[in-house]
Symmetry: C2
Subunit: 258 residues, 2 copies
Amino acid sequence: MGITPPRSRYQQVAEHLRRAITAGEYRPGQALPSESQLAQQFGLNRTTINKAIRQLVAEGLVVVEHGRGSYVREQRPVIHISADYVTRGADGWPTWTSELAREGLSGSQRIREVSVIDPPTEIAGRLGLEDGEQVVVRRRLLLIEDEPVQLADSYYPARIAADTELARRAKMRGGENGALERLGIQLGFVDEEVSARMPTPDEAGLLKIPQGTPVLRHVRVTYDRDGRPVAVMAAVMAADRFTMRYRLPTSTGGGEQE
Amino acid sequence: MGITPPRSRYQQVAEHLRRAITAGEYRPGQALPSESQLAQQFGLNRTTINKAIRQLVAEGLVVVEHGRGSYVREQRPVIHISADYVTRGADGWPTWTSELAREGLSGSQRIREVSVIDPPTEIAGRLGLEDGEQVVVRRRLLLIEDEPVQLADSYYPARIAADTELARRAKMRGGENGALERLGIQLGFVDEEVSARMPTPDEAGLLKIPQGTPVLRHVRVTYDRDGRPVAVMAAVMAADRFTMRYRLPTSTGGGEQE
DNA sequence: GAGTGGTCTAGACCACGCC
DNA sequence: GCGTGGTCTAGACCACTCA
C-alpha cells in the first residue's frame, strides 16, 4: 500500500484513481470499485475514500449514483452553437429548432414566463434604459430531444415591445429577429459575451447539470442600425454539452489596402 | 435551531450561509464565523460544518485559508477579451500587451517552450495534417501585472513554420499574425470556439485558480485566403477573470435585398 | 501558544437501487 | 434484504497563521 501522508491520503487515492481513469483502466460509464472495497484495498476508512471520490466528482471525472455506485463520467454529445443565428438565411432567421434540425436533432422550447418587469440592473445597463423604465421579459427553456439543456431569458424595452407579439406567450415566426423586424426595427449588429461559472443550485436542478460541471453564460445584445440596443438575451447552459463557435474575417488591412 | 433533516443538515447550513452571503450580511472579503463557532451555534459537529463550507467553496462563493478562516470570495476584476485581435489596426496587429495597454493594464508573456513535436490528435485534426506530420508548438504563459492568468499554446504545421521565427524562442513583432504574414501567408478568416470545464490540478496551480472556479477554453483556428488552416491557438484561463467578447454584423438580408 | 482549518478514524444509521 | 453511497458524530492529531 503506497499510501502514506506526504500529501493527504485522500488526495493520493484520488490521484491513483485519476491516473487509472485517464489511462483508460476504467472506461467511461464503467463502475469504480465500491467505497468499501477501496477502503479495504488501501487500508483506509470509508470516509477517506468518499472524500477522494468527491474530489474526482468536483473535477468532473466521476459521477456517483446513490445506491448504485460511482462511475467514470461519460462524455455527453457536444452541441456547437454557431453564431449563424445572426445571419439571415433564404428561408428567414434561424431558430433553435431549425439550427438543431441541421444537426439531425429535435429542438423545442417551453416558454416559462412572459411578463413586464423592472429589469435587473445588468439588463437595464445593457439596454441603456432610463431609471424606472420597464422591460418585457421572455423566459424560455430550450430542449433537445425533450431534455432541458438551456435557460434563455430575453429582455426588450417595454417602450418598444409592450403589446406586441414579443409580449405574448406564443412562439414567434423567425424568432426574436423576425419579431423585431416586423416591428419595423432595422437590425444592425450584435455584441456577444461568453463567460463561465458554477451553476446555482436552481440551474443545476433545472438543467440536470452533473456535479463538477460549470455553465456557460451567453449574453447577446442586439442593436439596430443606429446603434441603439433593442434586445438582450441571457442564456445559461451546461458547459459539458455546449461549445460556442464564431467565424470571423481576418482583416489584413496591411496586406492590401494600406 | 431550525436544523432538522428534511434535507441534510450540512445543506441547510450551506443554504443558511449562502442566503446570508447573497443578502450581503457577509460582504466580500469578510470572514465567516469559525467552524467551531458555527458548530456550536447550530449544535452540529464540526465535520458537518466543514462539509457545508466545502459546498460553498465548490459553488465559488467562499474561499478558505488554512489557519486563518473562511472568507466570502471577492470578485476579481474581469478582463474582456475582444475578438479585435483579428482586425489589423493602423499600427499593425494587436497583441496581448497592446490590447491590455488599452485598458491601462500591463500585459506580458513568458515563452515556456518552443519545439517541434508530434501534435495532439485534436490539433492535427484542426490543422488538417497528414499522418506523421509534425508541428511547431509555442507554449506561452500570459501575465497581467506580473500575475499568470492564461496558458496559450499555438501550433503551426512544421511544413510552413520550421526554421522560421515561429520556431524560435523570441517574441514576434505583430504577434502570430505578423509572423504569418511575413512568411507570405495571406490570412483569410478564423474559427473560434469557446467552452468551459473544470481546471486540471496542473492548470489550477499554474494559474492560481481559486477553488470552485472553472476555466474558459478558447481555441482559434486561423485560415489563409484559400481556406487552409495555418495555425491553431488553444488557451485556458480562469473563468472568473475573463469574458470573451464578439461583435457581429446582423445580416438583415430580408430587410433590403429580398 | 492560541485559534483556525485539514484530515482521519471507528462506528453508526439512513436512503436508494435492485433482485 | 443486500449492497451501495449519504450523512453524522465524537474525538483526535496535524498544519498553518498570527500575535
